[in-house]
Each structure stands twice: as C-alpha cells, then as structure tokens.
Symmetry: C2
Subunit: 400 residues, 2 copies
C-alpha cells in the first residue's frame, strides 16, 4: 500500500493492469492525462488490443481557480466515489460505472465515456437531446427520493448525513453563490459594461432577503443527498444516453438546489443561444425547445417523485396526511425556482462564468445576454416563494 502522491501516467497503467477482469492478459495499455489540472488528475487508459478503455480520476490536495490555488481536502474523492456508487444503484445507467476506489490514493477507476460529449458543449453547438428530460428527471427523482426521509429508513438517513458532511466543498458554494454576487468581493468577475447591473444586485433589498432565505436552506435543510454541482458541465451526453458525473460537492441539502442547477444552466444556454450561431427561426425553435425541456424536467420529476412516494414511502404520516404531498411538491418547486435564479446570477457576476455566454465574441451581444440572465435570475429569486407552477418560470423568462 503506497502513501498518497499524484500518479504518473506509468503508475496509472500499472494500477489499471491489476484491475480484476477488466483488461485481457495480453493488453497493450497506453495512458494520457486529460484533466485540466485544477482539481484532479484524469487518466484515460486504453488497450490497443481489445479496444477497451477506462478513466482514473485522482483528487489533488488543492484547488486552482483562475490562477489562485488553495488547499482542498482529499476526502472529496471518497465522497465522490461513494455518491457515484449510490447513484449507480438508485439511477442505473445514468452515471459512469465505478470499477474501483482506492482511498489511500484518492483514486476512482470508472467507465470511459469518451463517446459522450459534455452537455454544455453540445448545447452550445446547438444540439438537441430529446431524451434528456426523461433521463435527468429519473436521475433527480430516484436519487433525491430514496435518500430523503420519505424514501429511506430515517435512522440510516442520519448516518448518511454524517457520512456526507462536506464542509470545504459547501464553503465554495456558500461563498461563490450565496454571498459574493451580492456584495463587493475580490471573487467577483464582472465585465465593466454591465457594472450598473451588478451594482443593482448589490442594492436590491428584496433580492437580498430572498437570497438570505435560500442561503439558510442551503446551510440547514438536510432534505436529500444532493449531487451539489449539477450543471451542464457535470453531464456527459449523447442522443441516447445521459451520464451525470463529478458529484464531489455531494452533501445533504434542499432538493431544489439540484433541480434548480439544471434549470439554471439550460436558461444560461437560452440566454447565450439568443444571440449566437444560428439564424433567427432556428434560434427561436432551439430556445423554445430549451423551455419545453425545462417544463418537461419539472413535470416528469414531479410525477416520478410522487409515483415513488406512492410505491415506496416509508413515513406513515407523510404518506397519509391529506394535502402534505401537494405542500411538499410546491415547496420543492419554489426552492427549485429560487436556487435556479441564484445559479444564474453567480455565473454572470461571480468567479466562474459559463462558456454558453462568455464565448459570445461580440461584446454588445454578450453583455445583452448577461443582462437577460441577470434579469431572469433576479426575478426567479425575488418571486420564488410565491411560485405555484413551473409555467410562471416560463412567463418570467419570456418577459425578460
């Protein structure tokens, strides 16, 4: 048993060779490190004989973002691998298969998804994924229901809360999503041309109250085991397959945070697509399809979650109390809307932007897209606690 150290490509090959019953005895393995080096090493290992391949992801003991570097716990590799394996059980086929986890090396060996593309990239290129709403709503309903007090033993759930306490990764979210965008912070990354809109975020009292309430929910509401970072960069996709990756931010939090993350990133693409790559008619059709996808995700999630509850609910009173299911789903929707807004705003004025918008070369068009995203995000947040239907979100989007 070696101690922790960042692996070389040769060491990765040696480990791969010893994974039971994966590569044939006569395998000829090659390895390429394909990570961005900011948080993890990612080794892509292929056998030229059998054509088989796999991925090894090793956590690094630091994080680098936009040039800065700070120490970051290796425990996130344990959290990621355990969450991936749990997701694999609860939502089969919707995450990469985990072949092996090495706690000493903080190393997860998993399925190679090179035949998929990162969804953010696919959407930017204007691809449609008609099966996505079905896949992601199943992922959300299954992973959230069966880790909640509605769908699992309530004493074992408390032990899961304990197992997925994740202070360092949560801290990143607490700062970058629920604080910096609403104040003057060195972490912010604001284009000079939209400084007036950023200043408006900093002086909007109604917005601050709602963000404080959303922040409180993120800090205290241990509702279900979340992915915790479910944007379109955490999804591998192709026409017939969706794979959710990278759950290192997993922790027990409010369900709406995961659902809202997906919706926010579709809306960020919506704002980016409005001005980008395609002629007007196609563009409008694509944008409408994004909105249809959002409605479909919510509606399918809602129906699948309730079906699971009906079939597998463990909580007598929650199962039987008249009106409770409606109360519950309404609050999940409201949280979803609020968190979606917070996720949009942080991607415009916060530290980490999204390519959906940043890659627009024309500054005027880019800034208009940024303003649209901020306007939508702000209205989603300010109105979240009064939302009764997903169609109100669509109305908000269309009126901004």
């Amino acid at each position: 048993m070696s101690t922790y150290h960042p692996l070389t490509e040769q060491e990765a090959i040696n480990i791969a060779r010893n994974i039971e019953q994966f590569f044939p005895a006569d395998a000829s393995l090659s390895c390429k490190e394909i990570g961005d080096g900011n948080l993890n090493l990612v080794f892509h290992i292929t056998d030229s004989v059998s054509g088989k391949s796999l991925i090894m992801k090793q956590a690094l003991p630091y994080a680098k973002v936009v040039g800065e570097s700070w120490p970051l716990t290796l425990d996130r590799a344990r959290i990621e691998s355990e969450k991936l394996m749990l997701e694999g059980k609860l939502a089969p086929g919707l995450v990469p298969q985990v072949y092996q986890y090495d706690p000493v090396l903080s190393l997860t060996v998993m399925e190679d998804l090179s035949d998929h593309v990162i969804m953010r990239r696919g959407l930017i290129e204007g691809n449609e994924y008609p099966l996505f709403a079905g896949h992601i709503s199943t992922f959300l309903a299954n992973t959230l229901f069966f880790t909640s007090d509605l769908g699992m033993n309530q004493q074992e759930k408390k032990l899961q809360v304990k197992n997925f306490i994740n202070p360092e990764l949560c801290k990143i979210t607490e700062d970058l999503i629920f604080d910096d965008p609403y104040t003057v912070s060195d972490n912010n990354n604001i284009e000079a041309a939209i400084e007036d809109a950023a200043a408006a975020l900093r002086s909007n009292d109604a917005l601050h109250l709602e963000v404080a309430i959303l922040r409180e929910k993120f800090l205290t509401k241990a509702e279900a085991l979340l992915h915790g970072d479910l944007h379109t960069g955490s999804i591998f996709i192709k026409k017939d397959s969706t794979k959710v990756i990278d759950p290192e931010f997993a922790f027990y939090g409010p369900m709406g945070f995961d659902i809202g993350a997906i919706i926010a990133n579709l809306l960020l693409n919506y704002a980016g697509q409005a001005f980008w790559t395609k002629d007007d008619a196609d563009r409008e059709a694509f944008r409408n399809e994004l909105l249809n996808t959002i409605v479909s995700i919510w509606e399918q999630f809602h129906d699948k979650f309730l079906a699971l509850w009906e079939a597998h609910g463990v909580d007598r009173l929650a199962n039987e109390a008249k009106g409770y299911k409606e109360y519950y789903m309404k609050h999940v929707l409201q949280d979803t809307i609020g968190f979606a807004g917070a996720k949009m705003i942080r991607r415009i004025v916060g530290l980490a932007h999204v390519a959906d918008i940043d890659r627009i070369e024309d500054a005027a068009i880019r800034n208009a897209a940024q303003r649209q995203a901020l306007n939508i995000g702000t209205e989603l947040i300010v109105r979240n606690r009064s939302i009764q239907s997903i169609y109100e979100l669509i109305d908000i989007v269309k009126s901004n």
Copy 2:
C-alpha cells in the same frame, strides 16, 4: 482501563476518590444509587468529613419505559457529556458542572444539585420561580444562537452536526411525539374517558397536515444544537438558580423544538393547576403567572437572541439583508408554537404522561384537564404557521 459494565456503589466510590482535587485526602465517602434504573444509574457520593458531594451518571445499554425494555446506544452518554460541557461554556451557571467523562464506562461525573428540586415537582407544589424566565431565556438564546449558522463558523457547525448525529434518541421522539398520538398505536396511553378526544386527534386532517410539516422540520432542519428533551423534568430549580440537565437527546434540529418544549410543559402544568390544590383566587393568580412566564420567556429569548446576533453574527448576508431578522424570528416563533402543541398532545394520549395532570386523583377533574391540554395543543398546532405574536398563544390558552 476497564471495559464497560454497570458500576457497583463501591466501584463508584473508588472512581470518585481518584477525581483530581475534588475530595480531600481524608474523605470518608458514602454512595447511594438514586436513579430510577430505566435508562441510567445515578450515584450520589458524599464525603461526611468535608460535606462535599458529587453525582455520577452512568448510561445503561437499554431503556425501560412502562415495563418494556429495548437496547439503547451508550453513545448517548458521550453526546450528553459533550453537550453539557458545551452548554456550560455557552450558558455559564445554567447547567451542572462536569468534572470528568469516562467514555469506556459511559460515565459522567458532575456537580451535585441536591439543593435544587425538579421543576415539575416544584410547579406541582405551587411554587413560583420569578427568575426562571430570565434564566431559561438566556440558556435558550445562548445555546441556540452560538451553535447555529448565525453564531458560529459555518464549516465547524457542519462538524458539530456530524458529532451530534443521534439516530436512536431521535427515533424515540419521531415515534412518540410525531406519529403515535395521531394513529392507533400500542405505544399510546389513553384514558378510556377521553377516547372520543383521542379519536378526534386521529381524524383531524388539518392537524395531520401540520404535524407532518412539524415532523419534517424535526427530521431535516439542522438549525441549532438542541437539548432535545427540554421539559420541566429536565430542569433543577430553586428560587435563585436554574440548572438544565439530561441533554442525551441532543442533536441538530429546529430551535422551536426546545423553546416549545418549555412552553408546553408550563401549559401542561397550567392545565393541571386549574383543578388542583389551591383555592380559586390563588389558583387563578398562579395560572396567570404561568402565562406571564411564557410571554416573558419568548420576549426575553427574542431580545437576547437578537442582541447576540447584532454583536456576534458571523453570516454577512444574514446580518445585513433587510427584513431577514424579522423573517427569522417569526419562523422561530411559529415553530415554537407548533412544537409546543405537539409536546402537549403527546403527554396526554402518548406513552409518557406528566405528573402535573396524572396525579389529579379526581377522574372528572383529571379528564377535564386532559381535554383542555388536547384542545390547546391542537389549536397551537393547527394555527402555528399563521402566528405572528406570542400573545396569540395566550389568547388560544384562555379560549380553551
């Protein structure tokens, strides 16, 4: 280092003799086991030479309630001692001092409070404690604020959540408070004469919806480190001193659960005192004083909590967002009202009753007190989410 076993009185003396700098070298120690034997052994050890004394509390690996016995984790002794020590730091003078904790023996050595009486007993005897509202509001404000995301480092708070995961003790509350009273259960303990009122609890849809929502908060809302069982039997009192004991149910939950427990037990005494021991004028004066105490506890808690927030708030957005403090305190009040109602009802129809009411010998008077407690409890629960002021609670009490 011995392994865990229930101590004899002689072993307790030997341990006491070795506690550093407590008893003098020439001490002549005697020991009496004074626990009820249902959950813990409690040794009272005195030195006839110096007059000094102490208490040793040892957890037993089982619980006995009303004749039944089931296994129960010894980890509760760790939780209790750690919570007691933390309370001692946060609310000095309001809990017994802990001299020593032995994790192997699940043994906490602490201050002897024999000069105090159990508050429930004191109230039943008609004693007034004019300093109590001040003491308990300080205890609540300090222990709840400084363990919440408002008053402590938010990453360290997550480690505290982990440290105080307490599934077995929470399960008792989940069953006995948030389930059994609202259904047919062998755990219930209902006098035949009020079976109609108990049946009404089982068929009240509006009540079930609110109890389901309160149960959800108990299960998911990791707001502050609670005592978890803060009734008047968990308080030692005398005219000038209040000491909160027995925090083995400690876990991270909604603040209103602790505050509501105190209020519920004062109201149970109120219902019991209405028909008991004193002439009419005195009785009314005593009852009014109980209601004044409740108002004073809430108002002092409110003011002290906000003062701590003003002076020590760690969350930028929570500190600065306009309207957030009012929003927060209103929700703590609403939770308090709802949990108070749930705590009252379980003491009338659930497994464990309270002497405040059960000791009324006249069956008609006792049943009338039970009905009053059920009526007040039901109305507190049904109305909890619309309550704006503690005076609405007083109105509810007076109208039932």
